[in-house]
């Protein structure tokens, strides 16, 4: 596989679930989090860990759509960007949304692996940014919310 693609895969993997030099990545930040912790809000109308996880899944989906220009598939929830979670505070519901995040990451990862390296610095059809910028942005987005989840875990009552 060309090295440029390997670099991008390394980038999104370290942001999500591969050991990263700087500390906790997104998947690491939600590991061991209970449904009750995930549902705790620091204040009325403030996002909880659960919503941050689903939000991250949604943007991986959006990046996949933009990279592939796919008209197939849809995000399995109505709406966009932020989704009110949880519907029920159960382990089953929390695991289902973590599995969604996992699935969206793998789908995005497969799309990145299939890119033509010659297209990385070109915009996809109807895209506003290059493919490289899109993937770089998704990785930074994971780190951004991992930092917030780490903070929420400290604040949430145990």
């Amino acid at each position: 596989m060309p090295s440029d693609l390997n670099e991008l895969l390394f980038l999104i993997d370290t942001a999500y679930n591969r050991v990263s030099w700087h500390g906790t990545n997104l998947r690491g930040s939600i590991r061991g989090v209970s449904p009750r912790q995930a549902a705790w809000r620091p204040g009325r109308g403030r996002h909880n860990i659960w919503e941050l996880a689903v939000h991250a899944a949604y943007w991986k989906y959006v990046a996949w759509r933009r990279l592939t220009s796919s008209t197939r598939g849809s995000f399995p929830m109505d709406g966009s960007n932020w989704f009110v979670r949880p519907q029920q505070i159960t382990l089953q519901a929390w695991r289902a949304d973590v599995a969604l995040l996992e699935r969206m990451h793998r789908t995005l990862r497969d799309a990145v692996a299939d890119l033509d390296p010659r297209d990385l610095d070109r915009k996809p059809p109807k895209g506003k940014t290059t493919r490289r910028a899109l993937v770089t942005g998704v990785a930074a987005h994971d780190f951004y919310h991992a930092g917030q989840i780490q903070l929420l875990k400290r604040l949430a009552p145990r």
């Binding site: 670099e7 980038l11 370290t14 942001a15 990263s20 030099w21 700087h22 500390g23 809000r41 620091p42 204040g43 009325r44 403030r46 610095d121 940014t129 290059t130 490289r132 910028a133 770089t136 942005g137 990785a139 930074a140 987005h141 780190f143 951004y144 919310h145 991992a146 930092g147 917030q148 780490q150 903070l151 929420l152 400290r154 604040l155």
Partner: protein, 154 residues
């Protein structure tokens, strides 16, 4: 700007703007507030992030990114500062970063720099720094909403 450098530079400036918008919402008295368990305040996070960036990107191509003059432990010392002083510190970190990135071309990204005596390709050094920056900006952006929640509960 070359496309690869531009992709990284745009992310840095995006996160810089996000943090500045969050800080703009706060009064001087909120900057040093910590969570009840002693977590970091916005002042501490800014001091740490700016200290890191200033060290990494001053003489970026020609000296080790961990400067002898950097006092990392001091970045975590509790301090009360005005917003003006906070933003001065912030810009002292971002200035060297933006200047260094602005001089790069895509061809430079395969060259190496040293960080703590470890040789890293420039693209790798930039991505590491972007990860660290995004992580802490996430916390800077989150903290004002925490203050609003606490104020609302009183």
């Amino acid at each position: 700007m070359s496309p690869h450098v531009e992709a990284i530079a745009d992310e840095f400036t995006r996160y810089k703007a996000l943090a500045e918008a969050a800080i703009a919402q706060l009064g001087d008295e909120e900057l040093a507030v910590t969570a009840s368990d002693g977590g970091n305040s916005i002042v501490t996070i800014v001091w740490h992030l700016a200290g890191n960036l200033e060290s990494r990107f001053t003489d970026f191509r020609t000296s080790d990114g961990e400067k002898p003059w950097r006092d990392r432990d001091d970045e975590f010392v509790l301090r009360n500062v005005t917003k003006t002083a906070l933003l001065e510190k912030w810009e002292r970190g971002w200035g060297p970063l933006l200047a260094a990135v602005g001089q790069l071309s895509d061809a430079d990204l395969l060259q190496t720099v040293a960080i703590r005596r470890q040789q890293l390709r420039i693209d790798q050094a930039l991505q590491r720094s972007l990860a660290h920056t995004a992580y802490h900006v996430g916390q800077i952006v989150f903290l004002p909403s925490r203050f609003a929640a606490v104020a609302g509960s009183v």
